[in-house]
């Protein structure tokens, strides 16, 4: 330090000492090595646990593989069988799409509705925010699925309550027409997670915009249509994308409520459940892998369509339109 004190401290910062040729390059290489060193754990995970299995499952999807004997290459047979000779799969696609298309918008509508109320009525909002968020945490649990099964059974609370209002529907669990609506009720009930995100989005909308709208004579509906929705569109898009993908993955609750059978009449036999049954109950791993890839492709297509459509309706702050 004493030797350094004679030098102007800034000097070295302003005019670095000339480095021997190649020194900068070697430091860059060292930094690169260190960077990759830090990345190694992630890379191991990515290649070993994500990409490797994906490639393997892609390969298996072109084979017949019963676990006991080595996979046998069958080309596109699994995919052809799925769409031409397996009505159970076709039905599981329809059931899954129905669940996604109806359940997701309803869930988001519920989340947005409650978020608006919480944003408007600030009194006790902390309590209600937690209360409404709780189902998101426990909704996917086994116990809730069991409770749901009991609630929607014949003479269960839901049946009894509806009977009071003159709607004698009987149990929903065993009813072909009501099983999916029951599942949709379960997903709507878990609106807490998107609600919190909506709430954050709502609180980020500048109050001046509403004031300006009021000056222009806008009522509550006009403010919602002209200010809230456009300003919230990016959050809506985010929630829509996340919840759509999430809905495609419905598994645990359907498994528990139908006791792993996908009944009644295959109405809870979602694609993921069918894939699981084919793979682990029937030992048709090749076919199950093919179903996994079809699910992935479905999700990718829907995500791509959402991204494409977002250009028309999603408004990002600071973006000129």
């Amino acid at each position: 330090m004493t030797t350094l004190s004679n030098q102007t401290p800034l000097k070295s910062a302003v005019a670095p000492r000339p480095q021997p040729p190649g020194h900068g390059a070697s430091q860059a290489r060292r930094e690169l090595r260190a960077g990759y060193g830090f990345l190694v754990p992630w890379l191991i995970g990515f290649f070993g646990l994500t990409l490797g299995p994906m490639v393997m499952s892609l390969y298996l999807s072109f084979t017949k593989y019963n676990i006991f004997t080595p996979p046998r290459w069958v080309g596109l047979d699994n995919y052809i069988r799925m769409f031409t000779a397996d009505p159970v799969f076709v039905k599981s696609v329809k059931v899954t799409l129905g669940y996604v298309v109806v359940g997701t918008p309803l869930k988001l509508a519920a989340a947005l509705g409650v978020a608006l109320l919480l944003n408007y009525f600030t009194r006790g909002s902390g309590f209600f925010r937690s209360a409404f968020y709780a189902p998101s945490l426990i909704g996917a649990s086994v116990s809730i699925a069991i409770v749901w099964r009991a609630m929607f059974g014949t003479d269960g609370p839901v049946d009894s309550a509806l009977t009071v209002f003159g709607l004698d529907l009987g149990g929903w669990v065993g009813n072909v027409d009501l099983a999916v609506p029951m599942m949709i009720c379960l997903t709507i009930w878990q609106f807490g997670a998107p609600m919190v995100i909506f709430l954050a989005g709502l609180q980020g909308i500048p109050a001046e915009l509403y004031e300006a709208a009021e000056v222009d004579g806008a009522g509550a509906w006009a403010k919602f249509r002209q200010v809230t929705l456009p300003m919230l569109s990016s959050v809506i898009f985010f929630n829509l994308l996340l919840e759509t993908i999430h809905a495609f993955q419905v598994f645990g609750s359907a498994f528990i409520i139908s006791n792993g059978s996908g009944s009644p009449g295959g109405m809870l036999n979602f694609m993921t459940l069918y894939m699981y049954k084919r793979g682990f109950a029937d030992s048709q791993m090749g076919y199950a892998a093919a179903i996994a890839w079809v699910v992935l492709i479905f999700v990718a297509i829907v995500a791509a369509l959402l991204f494409r459509s977002s250009k028309a309706w999603v408004h990002y702050a600071g973006e000129s339109r």
Partner: protein, 437 residues
């Protein structure tokens, strides 16, 4: 983000890969390779065996006691026990089988026997039979049941037969006298209709018998055909299946309990949930019905199932469960000693009663104090000797899948989500897929 959200979907891929990675090891499971020569277990050496079975807490407690008795004789053999419910038990075994890590001694099911035997996953018991594993108590027929392609790879713990359970409490509430047993299926329908009429919408005569593959099996056996040949080929036609499912139509048209009601109680059956007065099932299901219903043993009686043709030999005795040893075990002699104890010991018989079916070994049966229900099961099996034919070939590989598909299509017929023609087409296609997997 997409990849993260898809993690559960990709989980299958991962599992499949892990299985694939381990799969090659199973090639080393040639029974001859691990075939230790019998000559008595070494009592000086500390040995650890893994024992796996399916069941519930009650059975686990019984195995606990049985192993304690075993340890009195063989204190040097430590037995680690694990148990699961039936479906999970097989999911776990399938994965272990792929990785070459099956437990030394397993409870085994008839429907998986061919698959595991043909893939050399089970120890050929021939060197141990008659010495380490005593066979004096077994009939030839009982021993023959565990033979696949000339090799004995499993031994019956107990036997059972297809039967009909009747719930006397439900019947006395309706005032209908019990089903006599052994009539034509149409007469059984007529009897069920009486119960259903008297039950006033809360209790029914039974559930659609055409939803169970075992009823199709006895239907076909009465016509002289097993469902599958020795060569694992389909032995029935689509028209025969169609006729069978059509015969179940009256049941679905109001005679039997509506399928939607059964969906709510599944995996309990209509009988197990006290909604029906009768059910066709295996005769060792009595204990589990008692558990489901919470009734006394006297409430249940057993009758012979209806038949397609009077005088036919359509029924047969099958193993309710078996014991098998993994081909990969390091301790074949100790494993065989444990199997012998679990199969033949009188004391073990006293512990289990008929929890595992009527014991196949006469020595073990001698230790069983037959309770009233067990006595009924025993008497039932004695009473149907005229209807007992040869056992069908060991179930085809994938029989479990075929059986489940039959059950699911039965429920769909009941719910009206498929027609008989569609169900037949789907079933034949599934069978074709399974047999050519």
């Amino acid at each position: 983000m997409l990849a993260k959200r898809l993690a559960p979907v990709l989980g299958l891929a991962l599992a499949a890969t892990l299985l694939a990675g381990c799969g090659d090891d199973s090639d080393n499971t040639d029974p001859a390779a691990s075939d230790g020569s019998p000559g008595g277990v070494d009592t000086s050496q500390q040995i650890t065996l893994d024992l796996a079975f399916w069941g519930n807490d009650v059975r686990a407690e019984m195995y606990e006691q049985a192993v304690a008795l075993f340890n009195q004789q063989y204190p040097n053999i430590k037995v680690n026990q694990t148990f699961l419910a039936f479906p999970e038990f097989w999911e776990k075994r399938q994965i272990e089988a792929a990785g070459g890590g099956l437990p030394d001694v397993m409870m085994f099911d008839y429907s998986y026997l061919r698959q595991y035997s043909e893939n050399s996953l089970l120890l050929d018991l021939a060197p141990y039979l008659g010495n380490t594993i005593k066979t004096d108590g077994f009939t030839e027929a009982a021993l023959g049941i565990g033979v696949v392609d000339g090799h004995t790879t499993a031994i019956s713990i107990g036997t059972n037969a297809w039967a009909m359970y009747l719930n006397n409490d439900v019947l006395s509430a309706t005032g209908v006298s019990p089903y006599a047993g052994g009539t034509a299926f149409a007469d059984y329908d007529a009897w069920m209709d009486q119960v259903t009429q008297a039950g006033g919408g809360t209790v029914y005569g039974g559930q659609d018998w055409s939803g169970r593959i075992q009823n199709f099996e006895i239907w076909m056996r009465a016509q002289g055909k097993d469902l599958f040949t020795d060569e694992s080929e389909v032995n029935f036609t689509a028209d025969e299946l169609k006729a069978f499912w059509q015969a179940g139509q009256p049941c679905r048209d109001g005679v039997c309990v509506p399928q939607s009601k059964l969906e709510e109680v599944y995996p309990k059956s209509g009988f197990g949930s006290a909604q029906t007065a009768s059910e066709l099932t295996w005769d060792n299901f009595g204990a589990s019905y008692m558990g489901d219903l919470g009734v006394e043993q006297t409430s249940l009686t057993i009758a012979a199932p209806p038949t397609y043709r009077a005088g036919a030999k359509d029924l047969y005795l099958k193993p309710s469960m078996m014991h098998a040893i993994a081909a990969t075990t390091d301790q074949p002699e100790a494993a065989a000693t444990l199997v012998d104890f679990l199969l033949n010991s009188e004391a073990v018989g006293a512990v289990f009663g008929t929890n595992r079916g009527i014991p196949a070994s006469a020595t073990q049966l001698a230790g069983v104090d037959l309770d009233p229900l067990s006595q009924k099961i025993y008497d039932y099996e004695q009473s149907i000797t005229d209807r007992l034919g040869d056992a069908p070939p060991v179930p085809v590989v994938g029989y479990g899948t075929i059986e489940e598909k039959f059950r699911v299509l039965g429920t769909e017929l009941g719910l009206g989500t498929v027609t008989v023609d569609q169900a037949v087409e789907q079933f034949m296609s599934e069978v074709d897929n399974v047999l050519n997997a």
